[in-house]
Symmetry: C2
Subunit: 342 residues, 2 copies
């Protein structure tokens, strides 16, 4: 910057003001400065700027990677958030595997980031308190049990559940199963509510993030209700197990059993046979909205906490069909046996 000032024949402070635009500069001066910056290929030093102004224009993305159980939508959410931040002149810094404890306290204390985005928020998430204590502004993607004072964006599970259940009930399904991931209890709660409002029965089980877990879950679902005709899943890693277990028992999807996923990205939904019907919010949207919330806070917005829920869209693909008729059900086991003997 000193070089620029010299070349333009002005003081460094004038260069700085020209750069920030925080005070009027005469046209000719401004032009000389701009020319000098171009000639020298000057870019302001981020550290000097950060040190003095106490603003880094960096935000942290807290991303608890329990390897293996990564939701495939996470990448889209991250990229959405990052693109958006970048457009607004901010950088996104990845903090993976940072849990509450010294790590986070240290990181937050370094003054490196102006704020944080917290992904994968659990119901009782100790990271939240650490951030509050550290005085780091943040917004959550997902939300904890009591988000009271904190901005967040999340999937609107109530709306998603109504969409999912609505579609299935319309198709004549009355006995539904739910497959959760054992971590986020919101989908199940929402589904229970939606089912009871729609007058449908719902049984629910959780499963880990594996094919085998899905197989086991299917068995448990059938034990809970041998006559269920549709399954709603919030556990993309267990779904293949469910589908195969159903196939093994001769239940064809979608003729004998409908299945639908919440929060599975489109290109993944296309991989199953039949392709998976989904209710799915735009993960990129959720990420972008969280960035917006946070930036508003960083710019001094003191409005009460905002909580933005994003509804999903129903994407009909091929894994749901009208419920088998009572007649089908009656003869079901015979038909299934026949198929199995082929």
């Amino acid at each position: 910057m000193a070089d620029v000032a010299r070349l333009a024949g002005v003081s460094v402070s004038t260069v700085s003001y020209a750069l920030s635009g925080t005070r009027p500069i005469s046209l000719s001066t401004r032009e000389r400065i701009e020319q000098a910056m171009l000639d020298l290929g000057y870019t302001p030093n981020a550290f000097a700027r950060g040190l003095k102004s106490k603003r880094s224009r960096i935000i942290a993305l807290l991303f608890p990677a329990r390897a293996g159980s990564l939701r495939l939508n996470a990448l889209e959410c991250i990229v959405g958030a990052s693109d958006h931040a970048q457009q607004r002149g901010y950088h996104l810094m990845l903090w993976t595997g940072v849990e509450a404890g010294d790590d986070l306290t240290q990181l937050a204390g370094q003054g490196l980031v102006d704020g944080a985005l917290v992904m994968g928020v659990r119901l009782h998430d100790p990271r939240i308190q650490v951030l509050v204590d550290a005085g780091v502004p943040f917004a959550m993607i997902g939300h904890d049990a009591d988000p009271g004072e904190i901005d967040f964006t999340d999937t609107d599970f109530e709306q998603s559940a109504r969409l999912a259940v609505g579609h299935l009930v319309e198709q004549g399904h009355q006995r539904l199963g739910f497959l959760g991931d054992g971590e986020n209890p919101r989908p199940e709660k929402a589904l229970r509510r939606a089912a009871s409002m729609a007058g449908a029965d719902l049984v629910a089980v959780d499963a880990g993030a594996s094919v085998d877990a899905g197989r086991g879950a299917f068995t448990r679902l059938l034990q809970a209700d041998p006559n269920l005709t549709a399954i709603i899943a919030f556990n993309e890693h267990a779904v293949p197990g469910v589908m195969r277990a159903a196939g093994d028992l001769g239940r064809r999807i979608p003729q004998d059993l409908s299945i639908m996923c919440i929060d599975m990205p489109p290109h993944v939904a296309e991989l199953t046979t039949p392709p998976m019907t989904t209710v799915e919010p735009s993960a990129a949207h959720v990420g972008r909205a969280a960035v917006d919330m946070l930036l508003r806070r960083l710019n001094g917005d003191t409005a009460p906490p905002r909580q933005l829920l994003f509804g999903g869209e129903l994407n009909l693909r091929g894994s749901c069909a009208p419920a088998p008729s009572a007649d089908d059900l009656h003869h079901g086991s015979t038909a299934r046996q026949r198929r199995h003997q082929e």
Copy 2:
């Protein structure tokens, strides 16, 4: 730091040296300083440190997100790199959608990052030259046409191709098809080589990242060789189209047609029916190795450029089977028609 020094009764320089360990400090002094830091909950300011030392301990991850065509393995690679960097005391900063041009030049000039990792490297990637010119140390994940002077890690496509072709030829397949993504030409080249070494025929087509593109690609593959019995794909987004187009023509997978993917993560491979046989390197490994390479350079290593290729593993699932016998082939069309009329 001034507070710490006061509380410990020493000078700030002593505190700084105690922190960095770059010169001997008496035990009692060190203890007083450490106690003071604890009492005050002190964490060094990252900007002051960066400004003075010219090292930020931040590395950029250049991640060109052409939305929609994100490889699902990318997330694992990113998380692998980030975890690893974090363990080594570095931060990973996401630069999505940053292409060659002013953006990159600016970012590189800010002095914010000590180095960069470049993902999604194309054969002639203008970002490379920009980084070289800016004097930012970097390593590539993937590599361009002429990586001469630059460190990189990548999938070992030659080895992967040998594995894939080897398995198929062992199973009696002699007429193979390849489905590329139209961006990375290496898989096709490697496959051609592997096929010719194994004495198998290979026809190749490219497709965009969509189901429809996959359908079209299957048609073109059959035009190129109506008798192919196996397909190797490096295009996870088009694979569903291939599978469905095959199904529409009555070709059962794997009995009539084997299919195999390169670079598809395990939990995605489980989603198809039958589950997809893959040849797949550990994306997390590739990411970690790139971090290691870069950090070595940052620490002054001047060894000649290193180029690390990671071989894939063959994961047999269910999408490949022995080639149909000549007899099967002969009666194939009749059999297919029969199935279609059912």
